[in-house]
């Protein structure tokens, strides 16, 4: 067997062949969020229902009367992904369907900002849903405005270069962990095997499960569409977006251990949204990444 064939075989074995996402969707070139959906559905399979609030994905799926997905979708209001999903789950159970996986699928704005009340409510009640936040680090649907997931240093239309975002990204995983839900995982479109594996694991857990998925957005990040996977991988490998999971709010496992982390600068320089950053500001980003990494290591040890 040639090395290529070997690789093919491995791919076929690790990622389910089933495609629940068709072509014809409306995403931009190089959209990370689109890949995230594809991988999630590979893991969850056909018996899945999606609740999608306002976000790029509310558009990507296709305009009425089209849909590019082979699972049912309920389009819900921006702030209601978690509570709508909770209601759908209750409604399905009340009518005899206890098997279907109910997923709230929202962007970072719909999760970190306007939807956090509903998410916190569902998590505290431990409602039986999977909540996936695909994080492209701004409000992209409405034309690149900052969210509380926008990282320090980034340009957006509401954080102009002169007043770039000067606060760090909200630590959504820590917030969810504080709710002591059974399962939390981070994932990246650059590591589909890891993502699918964790999603399959989550499928069999009951209660609230939360995924934070890193999904580059060339349009909003001013990066090249062909660099999407590269950027996502760099973010994982330099510790900017580490891959880990937290069980019951306590047991932290790092899924991809990094012996040596590359500097974040190369990653920042591939994105127009960070172009204005001066060396001192790049150093500040690096220091923040280092500190977060240290915290993560400590939480694994402890």
């Amino acid at each position: 067997m040639s090395p290529e064939a070997k690789k093919e075989k491995k791919f076929a074995l690790t990622l389910p062949a089933e495609e629940l996402m068709a072509c014809g969707h409306l995403a931009c070139q190089g959209c990370g969020a689109t890949l995230a959906m594809r991988y999630m559905l590979k893991a969850l399979g056909q018996k899945t229902v999606l609740c999608i609030p306002a976000c790029c994905w509310a558009v990507i799926d296709g305009p009425y009367p089209y849909s590019s997905l082979d699972v049912p979708i309920y389009h819900c209001a921006f702030e209601t992904a978690a509570s709508t999903a909770t209601g759908v789950k209750a409604g399905l159970e009340a009518t005899g369907d206890t098997e279907t996986t109910v997923v709230a699928w929202a962007g970072d704005g719909g999760t970190f900002d306007i939807g956090i009340q509903a998410l916190s409510g569902a998590a505290e009640r431990n409602d039986d849903i999977i909540y996936v936040c695909y994080d492209n680090e701004a409000y992209m649907n409405t034309g690149i405005q900052r969210s509380s997931a926008t990282p320090y240093g980034a340009w957006t239309t509401t954080t102009p270069v002169k007043h770039f975002k000067n606060r760090p990204k909200k630590d959504i995983v820590a917030i969810l962990a504080a709710h002591r839900i059974p399962y939390i995982a981070t994932a990246s479109v650059s590591h589909p095997e890891d993502f699918v594996k964790k999603m399959k694991k989550a499928k069999d857990i009951r209660g609230t499960r939360f995924f934070h998925v890193y999904a580059p957005c060339p349009t909003g990040w001013k990066s090249r569409p062909e660099d999407t996977i590269k950027l996502a991988r760099m973010a994982v490998q330099n510790g900017y977006f580490p891959l880990y999971e937290i069980e019951d709010g306590e047991k932290t496992t790092v899924n991809l251990k990094l012996k040596e982390r590359k500097p974040v600068e190369d990653f920042l320089r591939l994105q127009g949204r960070f172009r204005h950053l001066k060396p001192a500001e790049v150093a500040a980003v690096q220091a923040e990444v280092d500190a977060r990494w240290e915290r993560l290591m400590r939480s694994c040890a402890g």
């Binding site: 306002a54 509310a58 558009v59 009425y64 389009h75 209001a77 921006f78 702030e79 970190f112 900002d113 306007i114 956090i116 409000y139 649907n141 409405t142 034309g143 405005q145 900052r146 509380s148 239309t157 509401t158 102009p160 002169k162 007043h163």
Partner: protein, 384 residues
């Protein structure tokens, strides 16, 4: 200074010239450019204001209320879903008598998702106690924001300046951007007689029993009743300073008209093309554009309608189970008055569907063929 600007930027310029002190907003299509420009103006120092980038519209309105009660001039802008999410706070702003000015871009409500124009978003807020100004040109938008602050702060009632999605929000027009010195002369700084300050400790909005609550609302209504005259007075004053008068309604060729279209927003300008064409064909048509919806300009509407033989109210909205909302309001304005014409109600252009000149002519033909007013709403341009 004359500038070619989009409707959304007309709102931003209005808010800037009014020297808004606190702006708190949340992005939504098709409003985003309003706050993007204001955000830039705050960043580059053109506007000396605090800009709060909140996490939802509910918080946008709540923080405008906080800023206003602290004595600052507050501005925000939103659209559709965002306005609906503010609903609780809209009652709060009006009930608390906080003279906030807000731009709202008329966009159809979900589901299905739509970003295109109709008026159901703002008309659903008609009973919150806000004044509502429906604009139909970018010039009118800039001017109205400035006037709205003046009226709002005089009466301590918040005001919404409303424009159609895309048809106005994203349409570029020549606008005479008023001179700052003149605006300063027209609109004095906001100096509320009471505010939240340790120098004069008061509790605002506490538990209000049946003994007092009704009086608060009576006063709101009484002050709203003063609004039509005040809007006309400040509108004339605006004319003196800037050369453009602002009124409650905007009649077009209504003087000798036998038939009028009653419209609001940009659809009125399409109606005017139809009016011209009908007149060329020998029909004495006219157009009554209602600019101010709250307070409702009862007198001005009756003045025009009292002289015509028939009127067609064309609504870009629908109160399901009752019909077009302007139609309901115009009917109530003429109720029990002698000499008023039969009114026919039409619903058109929901979710951004175009309302064409041909459709206005269809409306005219339909209305003129009808002998009397009808309960049934006529839907224009709908696939049945």
């Amino acid at each position: 200074m004359r500038k070619v600007i989009m409707g959304n930027h007309a709102l931003s310029y209005g808010a800037m010239l009014a020297r808004s002190q606190v702006i708190s907003a949340y992005p939504i299509t098709p409003q985003t450019q309003v706050v993007e420009l204001l955000s830039e103006m705050c960043a580059d120092g053109t506007l000396d204001a605090q800009f709060i980038k909140v996490e939802s519209e509910h918080s946008a309105m709540a923080s405008c209320i906080g800023a206003s009660v602290a004595g600052a001039r507050a501005f925000t802008a939103t659209s559709a879903q965002g306005l609906a999410l503010m609903h609780e706070m809209l009652h709060w702003a009006a009930g608390g008598r906080h003279p906030i000015v807000m731009g709202n871009i008329n966009r159809a409500m979900a589901p299905g998702w739509s970003i295109w124009t109709d008026q159901n978003d703002s008309l659903s807020q008609r009973d919150t106690g806000w004044m509502q100004f429906y604009c139909s040109s970018n010039q009118e938008v800039v001017d109205t924001v400035i006037q709205a602050f003046k009226v709002a702060e005089t009466l301590m009632i918040p005001a919404m300046v409303i424009l159609d999605a895309f048809a106005l929000s994203h349409t570029y027009e020549v606008v005479d951007v008023p001179d700052q010195a003149l605006v300063d002369r027209y609109l004095p700084p906001f100096k509320p007689s009471i505010k939240l300050t340790p120098a004069d400790p008061r509790a605002f909005g506490g538990l209000t029993g049946a003994e007092h609550y009704m009086e608060l609302r009576y006063k709101l209504q009484k002050d709203m009743e003063k609004a039509p005259a005040l809007i006309e007075e400040t509108g004339r004053e605006f004319g003196k300073v800037f050369g453009r008068e602002l009124g409650l309604v905007d009649p077009y060729l209504c003087g000798d008209a036998e038939f009028v279209f009653v419209t609001s927003g940009t659809a009125g300008f399409t109606a005017r093309v139809a009016v011209d064409e009908l007149r060329a064909a020998g029909v004495k048509a006219g157009n009554l554009r209602i600019k101010v919806f709250r307070p409702f300009p009862f007198d001005r509407v009756r003045e025009v309608l009292g002289k015509v033989k028939k009127a067609a109210v064309v609504d870009r909205n629908c109160s399901y189970g009752a019909g077009g909302i302007f139609y309901q309001e115009v009917k109530s304005a003429v109720y029990g008055r002698p000499g008023m014409p039969p009114l026919i109600g039409y619903v058109a252009g929901l979710g951004g569907r175009d309302i064409t000149t041909a459709q206005f002519k269809e409306v005219a033909a339909d209305a003129m063929a009808k002998a009397k007013a009808e309960e049934e709403i006529v839907w224009i341009g709908v696939k049945k």
